[in-house]
């Protein structure tokens, strides 16, 4: 495959649009919108077998089928469709699930046998990731961000033939929501672009009722209802309540992160904040909560994937609103039902650079990384060995939009430094990343002279990122550079549609 070099010096397949800067194409291009596909009101046909859907909607070779990932690792819908593809021996199918989890293992033989030859997704982990990195997918894996996927769909770049939209509760007209029913999952933000723009829309439910209490899925866009015994396993759907970490190193990182945010003067009236659902993120949120309570500060909103921790902060009056693109646990689902200021956002209003996305209103975001380089470019797509284990999700979107983007990570993980000369894969460009907090020091991106100046007399352990790398090498010894040697199996597509890096083959062990 011939390659060209993009704006960050990375090789990408020739013929694809090279990344040129985090706002280059946002400034250059206009928003492109294809027509929404509206079906109309009234009762929608109900089916009980997936085979009926394939027959009725003439699903054949080469078509693009899409799915959302609100059911996470408890999802049964994608696998149901895969089983039918396998039965009919369909070939060259293009799948566009917004994320892929270990539960989607049945996709692996379909990839290996050519039933599925291309995948568009924002996050992939588990056996499917392994199969892709080992080179079994015939065409390229295209990884978008949570904000870039709606851009691709609404512009027609990613044309979906049939969208299979899992909806926990649906009524006769195809209206639905994610809060009622045995497989409740909360908000359905990631499903909205598929609902609006796919050629055909099938809502898949296990709870078919006379009337739904609230409408998050508008039946006017729905072609048909597939009523099945179960759309997923609640245990896998709700990731369970994560607790703030108790690891002393993570706690030190969290403490310094919160202290940094405070020292920059962000924690004041109207403060807006987003972070992940992991143990360290929650520890940061806990420290921030402490500061806000002590100083009686009311923030404007918290956003992103919502956990019970953020729900508590909202209910204690610390954040006026919650903007929810995904509910991580039962408390978040319940809160969405009962709290009028707990609001859903569609993937587009969350992060689409051509929309007016919420990420642009964010003050502070705290994110993770598998690797970060001296230019603050961040990798959340592969690990240091090149293994595919994630993807941007909302990483690149929030990093762009937030006034302060903080990356937290251990400096050292089992003799490997997380700060590198060069990262294996660039997911999020360094120009959108401001600060790195590790257990051995805090590094500020030299692009942020304002922050460096603001904190020049701070007692926080601020060093340069070069010093962190040096410190790491002092401790571990200097590693041999591990360079990719295989063929390109996928690309990381930045939120604006340009290609920021390639993903390389990694041979199985």
């Amino acid at each position: 495959m011939s390659t060209i070099t993009n704006g960050l010096g990375r090789q990408i397949p020739e013929g694809m649009l090279p990344y040129q800067g985090s706002d280059f194409f946002i400034k250059k291009h206009k928003r492109v919108l294809i027509d929404e596909v509206i079906v109309g009101g009234g009762h929608k046909p109900v089916y009980h077998q997936i085979a009926e859907i394939f027959d009725t909607f003439e699903i054949k070779d080469g078509m693009t089928l899409s799915f959302h990932h609100h059911l996470r690792n408890g999802d049964s819908v994608l696998n149901l469709v895969l089983s039918e593809i396998k039965k009919r021996k369909l070939k060259n199918m293009i799948l566009a699930p917004s994320a892929i989890f270990p539960v989607h293992e049945p996709m692996v033989p379909l990839i290996k046998q050519g039933n599925v030859t291309q995948i568009y997704t924002n996050y992939v982990n588990g056996p499917v990731a392994k199969a892709i990195e080992e080179g079994y997918l015939k065409d390229l894996l295209i990884m978008d961000t949570h904000g870039g996927r709606p851009r691709a769909i609404e512009s027609g770049e990613l044309r979906i033939d049939v969208a299979f939209i899992a909806v926990p509760t649906v009524d006769h007209c195809g209206h639905g929501n994610g809060v009622e029913g045995p497989s409740a999952c909360g908000t359905l933000g990631y499903a909205i672009p598929d609902l609006l723009y796919a050629k055909k829309k099938i809502v898949v439910t296990d709870n078919y009722v006379d009337r739904v209490k609230t409408i998050d899925i508008d039946g006017r866009y729905v072609d048909a209802i597939l009523h099945v015994p179960s759309i997923g396993d609640p245990n896998g759907i709700q990731s369970g309540t994560t607790k703030p970490t108790r690891d002393p190193i993570q706690l030190k990182i969290a403490k310094n992160t919160a202290a940094f945010i405070e020292a920059c003067g962000f924690i004041k009236k109207g403060f807006s904040f987003q972070t992940g659902a992991g143990g360290t993120s929650l520890a940061v949120a806990q420290d921030i909560k402490h500061v806000m309570k002590e100083n009686k500060i009311v923030g404007s909103f918290a956003s992103g994937g919502i956990t019970n921790f953020l729900v508590n902060m909202h209910e204690e009056g610390l954040f006026e609103k919650l903007y929810d693109v995904q509910c991580f646990d039962l408390e978040a689902i319940k809160s969405y039902q009962r709290n009028k200021n707990h609001l859903m956002m569609s993937a587009s209003s969350y992060g689409n650079p051509f929309d007016k996305p919420k990420v642009n209103e964010l003050d502070v975001v705290v994110l993770g990384a598998t690797e970060i380089d001296l230019n603050f470019n961040v990798n959340v797509t592969t690990d240091s060995f090149g293994h595919l284990m994630g993807g941007s999700g909302g990483h690149s979107d929030t990093a762009f939009g937030a006034k302060l983007t903080i990356i937290t990570t251990n400096l050292l993980k089992s003799r490997l430094s997380m700060v590198k000369n060069k990262v294996r894969t660039i997911t999020t460009p360094g120009e959108t990343v401001d600060v790195l907090v590790t257990e051995r020091g805090i590094a500020i991106n030299p692009r942020r002279q304002d922050l460096i100046h603001l904190l020049k007399n701070s007692s926080l352990p601020i060093v340069t990122i070069e010093e962190l790398l040096q410190k790491a090498h002092q401790i571990t010894g200097i590693p041999k550079e591990m360079s990719p040697i295989g063929k390109i199996v996928g690309v990381v597509r930045y939120r604006d549609g340009s290609i920021i890096d390639s993903i390389y083959e990694v041979k199985g062990v």
């Binding site: 108790r246 190193i249 030190k252 401790i475």
Partner: protein, 281 residues
Amino acid sequence: MRRSLLFIPANSPAMLQNADIFETDGLIFDLEDAISLMEKDAARDLLSEYFESYKLEGVELIIRMNQLDSIYADDDLKRALSWPIDSIMVPKARYQDLVQLEEKLEKLEKKTKWEKKIMLIPIIEQAIALFEVDKIASLDRVSALLLGGEDLATNLEVERTKDAEEILLARQLVIYAAKAYSKDAIDTPFTDVSDKEGLIQDAKHAKRLGMSGKSCIHPIQIDDINTIFSPTEKEIAYAHRVIEAEKEALLNHKGVFSVDGKMVDKPIIERAKKLLEKVKS
């Protein structure tokens, strides 16, 4: 300052190489309870290589050796003199044993031309030791006393509780003995690592009684202990005022003076000096 002392198992590389991250005043590399009998040799070798590679600064380096009457004690002491440690923590400390240990150290230090003088932190964890704790505190090399609450409770055949009533007398005796000889009194660890409130209550109680610091068994306890045992801003400011007032009084040939409306006599001046010394260190 010895507000917090963290126990670290000497045989755990993961803990050793992160030891410098935690803001503790002292690190206790444990060769005793944390190490199984079969691994005592491995622990010593690991510490030797560790100290070769790592230069730790600004923190007191302590080893908890094995009991003096065990087969491990001799090797512990021999190796200890090749390590850059400040103090040795002695479990089940008894006066006579410590006297002999001091002599031994004197000899070993001369032999290895060791420039530093290794200090001792005896662990008071037996009922009988409390009847000689003043003599122990008076020893030249003893710089602090550590109360070993868990083993003491076992010795007393009682349950070790969070409100610590059963070790109250022991705490106080250790404190009085330490203060009598101007040594530090270090409190026993709070063993429920998941109970933050309990730790804070226990540490505050220990401080009120007169402990100068507290040992900890998990890094998560360090911050709270440092906060509780640190002199407050108010205390530091007051101490400065006392010293300033003393200087002025001397200049004006005044024998007696007052600060904040209260008369200041010698004990208060001494206390202020000690506190400022601690803060400086």
